[in-house]
C-alpha cells in the first residue's frame, strides 16, 4: 500500500455546503419547487410505506393562491373550527410579541418566538386528544395555546415569578404540563425525540390507546438521538408521530448542513421503512389534514409516521440572536409559502366566514386578553422584581426525598 493513497483520480477536496445567498445578496427560492395546492395524492392510512415513498419528496398543500381549499386533503374542518384556529395563531403571535418586549424590558432573561411557524403547533394540536403526549421543542407553544393552557401560567413560567409552576428552576419557555399533554422541555436538542418513542411504546405495552408526538427542528435531526428514535419507532412500530419542523435555519446554520445529500428531511424516514410526508407548514389546513392522517395511523396501531413541515423562521432564533449577520434581511418576505395567519384569514374571507373588520376587531380583542394575562402574571413578579420563588425551592425536587447532604447544604445556605 502506498502511503499517499491511489493517485489514479487526482487529489480529493472537501465539500462544504453553502446557502444560496448570504447577507447583501438577493433572496432566491427559484430553485425550490413547490407543488400546486391539491396536487398531492392522499393514500389510505393503511397503505404500505413502500407504496408512498413519493410523499417524502413532495409537499402536501391545501390552500391555493386564491385562498381556496383544494384537493384530496381539503375540507376536514368547519368554518367555526377554522376561525378558532385563526384565533389560536393570532393569540400565539400576540403572546410572542408581548413577551419579546417583556424580555427587552428586563422582565425575563430570554425568549424564543414562533413568528411564521404558528400553524404547525396550533393545527397539530387539534388532531390530538386528552391523554396523548407531545415531546416538544421550545418552538411549539401553539400546542399549549390551542390546547387551552392558561396564558397566565405560561407567563409566570417565563417570568420565573412566585407563581411559576416550575419554581424558577427552568429557563423561560421550557414549560411542562402533563395535564395538557406537554412533556417537560429539556433544552438539550433531540434528546426527547427518542423519549417520545419510548412513551408511545409504553402505551402499546400497556394496551392503552394514547399516542405520542415527538418534535424536532431541521438542525437537530443531525443529532444521534433523532436516528435512535427512528430505529426504535420502526422496529417496534411505535404509535408515535415524528415531527420535523424545517424552518430552514438552525441559529445561523442553513438546513443544508443537517440535511446533507438527502433530498429532504422527510426522506430520512424511508431507510427505516417509516412512511414520510412533507407538508406546507404555513398552511393551517394542510398541517391539520396531515396531522390527522398520521395520528390516525398511530391510533390504528399501524406504527409511526415521519412528517416534515416546510416553513420558515421569520424571526430571530432567540432574543440572543441577530439573523442579519448570516442571512439576507428580506429573505423572510421572499419565502414562497407566505404567512400562515394571512393565508388562513384570506381563506376564511374567501369562504365568506370572515372579514377584514372582524379580523381587526379580533386582533384588538386578543391583544386585550394577552395584556390582561400579562398584567395578572406580572402581579406575581417578574425575574428581577416582585415575588419570586424561594431559594428553598432550589433544593426541593432534586429527589423525591431530600437526602441528608442536600439538607445540610440547605441549612448552610440559611434558607
Amino acid at each position: 500500500m502506498s502511503d499517499n493513497g491511489s493517485v489514479e483520480f487526482g487529489p480529493l477536496s472537501l465539500h462544504v455546503p453553502e446557502p444560496a445567498v448570504r447577507p447583501g445578496g438577493t433572496p432566491d427560492f427559484s430553485n425550490v419547487t413547490f407543488p400546486d395546492a391539491g396536487s398531492v395524492r392522499r393514500p389510505d392510512v393503511d397503505t404500505n410505506p413502500e407504496d408512498m415513498r413519493d410523499l417524502a419528496f413532495s409537499i402536501i398543500r391545501v390552500l391555493n393562491p386564491e385562498g381556496e381549499a383544494v384537493g384530496p386533503w381539503a375540507n376536514l374542518l368547519t368554518d367555526d373550527q377554522l376561525v378558532e384556529g385563526l384565533r389560536h395563531m393570532m393569540t400565539l403571535r400576540t403572546f410572542d410579541a408581548r413577551m419579546q418586549i417583556a424580555q427587552r424590558q428586563g422582565k425575563t432573561s430570554f425568549y424564543m418566538q414562533h413568528l411564521g411557524e404558528e400553524a404547525v403547533s396550533c393545527a397539530f394540536r387539534k388532531a390530538l386528544v386528552q391523554g396523548d403526549m407531545n415531546f416538544p421543542t421550545y418552538r411549539q407553544a401553539g400546542l399549549l395555546i390551542a390546547g387551552g393552557y392558561p396564558m397566565v401560567e405560561m407567563m409566570c413560567q417565563i417570568y420565573s415569578n412566585e407563581r411559576d409552576p416550575l419554581k424558577g428552576r427552568q429557563l423561560p419557555i421550557m414549560y411542562s404540563s402533563k395535564e395538557h399533554g406537554f412533556f417537560s422541555i429539556s433544552g438539550n436538542l433531540a434528546t426527547q425525540y427518542i423519549q417520545g418513542v419510548g412513551w408511545a411504546m409504553a402505551s402499546a405495552i400497556k394496551k392503552d390507546s394514547k399516542i405520542a408526538a415527538a418534535w424536532i427542528g431541521d438542525g437537530s435531526t443531525a443529532e444521534s438521538d433523532f436516528h435512535a428514535a427512528l430505529v426504535f419507532a420502526s422496529t417496534y412500530k411505535a404509535p408515535v408521530v415524528l415531527n420535523i419542523v424545517n424552518n430552514q435555519w438552525a441559529i445561523s446554520t442553513f438546513q443544508g448542513i443537517a440535511r446533507g445529500g438527502s433530498g429532504t428531511f422527510a426522506a430520512r424516514g424511508l431507510g427505516f421503512g417509516i412512511p414520510a410526508l412533507r407538508v406546507d407548514g404555513n398552511d393551517y389546513l394542510a398541517v391539520f389534514a396531515v396531522a390527522q392522517w398520521a395520528t390516525e395511523r398511530a391510533r390504528r396501531n399501524l406504527g409511526p409516521t415521519l412528517v416534515e413541515y416546510v416553513t420558515y423562521r421569520a424571526g430571530a432564533h432567540s432574543t440572543s440572536d441577530d439573523p442579519s449577520a448570516y442571512r439576507p434581511k428580506m429573505e423572510s418576505e421572499a419565502w414562497p409559502l407566505g404567512d400562515p395567519i394571512v393565508r388562513l384569514k384570506n381563506h376564511l374571507i374567501a369562504r365568506g366566514a370572515w372579514s377584514e373588520e372582524r379580523h381587526t376587531q379580533t386582533e384588538a380583542e386578543i391583544l386585550d386578553t394577552v395584556i390582561a394575562a400579562q398584567k395578572e402574571a406580572e402581579s406575581f413578579g417578574t425575574l428581577h422584581a416582585g415575588g419570586k420563588p424561594s431559594a428553598r425551592d432550589m433544593f426541593e425536587g432534586v429527589y423525591e426525598q431530600m437526602p441528608p447532604h442536600l439538607r445540610r447544604q440547605r441549612q448552610q445556605a440559611g434558607v
Binding site: E18, P172, L189, T253, G260, D321, P389, M394, V398
Partner: protein
C-alpha cells in the same frame, strides 16, 4: 500592548495557529460563516477558507468523533461545543476514544485535538447554559483539562493546547469573556480593556499546560481556585481583610502540585473554591491532595466552597452561585479554626 477580551484572545490564538500550521482546522455548530454564538471564530472562515473553518451539523458526538478521525490522520482539530452543557452526547467519544487512543494503540494512533466549550454560570442561562463539568473530564485518564481566567492566559493556554500531542478539554468561563466578574452581580463589570490581564501580545506565545500562577501572594491562607472564581476569591479576601495567597490553577490536569504544596505549607490553611457542584467535584481531589501532602502543616481543615448539589436553577441564580459572601464566610471560618 493591545488589550483584548477573552473572546478576542481565544480567536487570536486560533488565528495564530491556523496561520502557522495548515493542519489546524476549526469547526463546530455555527462557527463557520457566523463565527460562533459567542463570536470566538469570527472571521476565521473568511481568512482561511471553508475547509479550514466550517459549520458542523448539530451532533456533538459527530463533532468530536470526526475531530478524532482528523487528528489521527495528522490534522490538529480545534473544535467548539456551543455550551459545555451540550457536550454529553460527545462524552463517549471523549472518554472511550480520544482519551485512550494513544494508550490502546501503543502510540500507533494519537489524538492531538482540542475541544473548546464555554462553561459556568452567572448569565441567567438556567440549567442548560451554566454548568461546570470539569470533574467529568479530570476523572478520565488520558485527557488534559484547562480553565483560563483571563485573556492573556486564554491565548497562551489555547496555543499550548493546540500544540499539545494529546487531547485537551479547554473550558472557557463565559461569564468572564468580556471582563472579570467578582460575584457582585449588582455592580458594573470592568471590561478587559481596563484590566492588565487584558493585555495580549500579538503573535505566538504559550502559557505552559500544568503550571499554576499566584494571583496574589499572602500569608494567612491559601485559596485554590480557577476561572471566574479567581475574581470572586480576590473580592472575598479583600472584603474580609484577609491576607490570602490566591492560586489560579489554570490547568487542572496535569496539576501543578508543587505550587500548591509550597503555598499551603507556608500558610497552613487552605480553601478550595469552584462553581461546579460539591460532591465528587474537583475540589475533592484538591482537598485530598492537600491533606496527603501537607497534613502536618495544616492548622485547620481544608474547606470547600462550591455550587450546591442541585441542577443549576434559573431564578435563584445568586442563591446558587458561590459568591463573595459564601467564600468570605469560609475564609473567616478557616482562619478561626484551630
Amino acid at each position: 500592548m493591545p488589550r483584548k477580551t477573552m473572546i478576542e484572545s481565544i480567536r487570536d490564538a486560533m488565528d495564530t495557529m491556523m496561520e502557522r500550521d495548515e493542519n489546524v482546522v476549526v469547526f463546530g455548530e455555527d462557527v463557520g460563516f457566523f463565527g460562533g454564538v459567542f463570536r470566538c471564530t469570527q472571521g476565521l472562515q473568511a481568512k482561511y477558507g471553508k475547509t479550514r473553518c466550517f459549520d458542523a451539523p448539530i451532533n456533538e458526538a459527530g463533532i468530536v468523533g470526526a475531530a478524532i478521525g482528523m487528528a489521527s490522520y495528522g490534522l490538529k482539530p480545534c473544535v467548539e461545543i456551543q455550551f459545555a452543557d451540550y457536550v454529553y452526547p460527545a462524552y463517549d467519544q471523549i472518554v472511550s476514544e480520544a482519551a485512550r487512543l494513544r494508550y490502546r494503540s501503543n502510540g500507533d494512533f494519537t489524538c492531538p485535538m482540542v475541544v473548546r466549550m464555554p462553561v459556568g454560570g452567572g448569565i441567567f442561562g438556567g440549567q442548560t447554559h451554566s454548568q461546570s463539568p470539569e470533574a467529568l473530564f479530570t476523572h478520565v485518564s488520558g485527557l488534559k483539562v484547562v480553565v483560563p481566567s483571563n485573556p492573556y492566559d486564554a491565548k497562551g493556554l489555547l496555543i499550548a493546547a493546540i500544540e499539545d500531542p494529546d487531547p485537551v478539554i479547554f473550558l472557557e468561563p463565559k461569564r468572564i469573556y468580556n471582563g472579570p466578574f467578582d460575584g457582585h452581580h449588582d455592580r458594573p463589570v470592568t471590561p478587559w480593556s481596563k484590566h492588565d490581564l487584558g493585555e495580549v501580545p500579538d503573535g505566538h506565545y504559550t502559557v505552559p499546560l500544568g503550571k499554576a500562577i499566584k494571583r496574589r501572594e499572602g500569608s494567612q491562607l491559601t485559596i485554590l481556585t480557577y476561572g471566574t472564581m479567581v475574581y470572586v476569591a480576590e473580592a472575598a479576601a479583600a472584603e474580609h481583610n484577609i491576607d490570602a495567597e490566591i492560586i489560579d490553577l489554570r490547568t487542572l490536569l496535569p496539576l501543578d502540585l508543587e505550587t500548591i504544596i509550597e503555598s499551603v505549607s507556608k500558610t497552613g490553611r487552605c480553601v478550595v473554591v469552584h462553581e461546579a457542584t460539591l460532591t465528587s467535584g474537583f475540589g475533592a481531589e484538591l482537598a485530598a491532595l492537600v491533606q496527603e501532602h501537607c497534613f502536618y502543616k495544616l492548622e485547620a481543615p481544608v474547606a470547600r466552597v462550591a455550587g450546591w448539589d442541585t441542577p443549576y436553577p434559573h431564578a435563584q441564580e445568586w442563591d446558587y452561585f458561590p459568591g463573595p459572601s459564601r467564600v468570605g464566610r469560609a475564609l473567616v471560618e478557616t482562619l478561626e479554626g484551630l
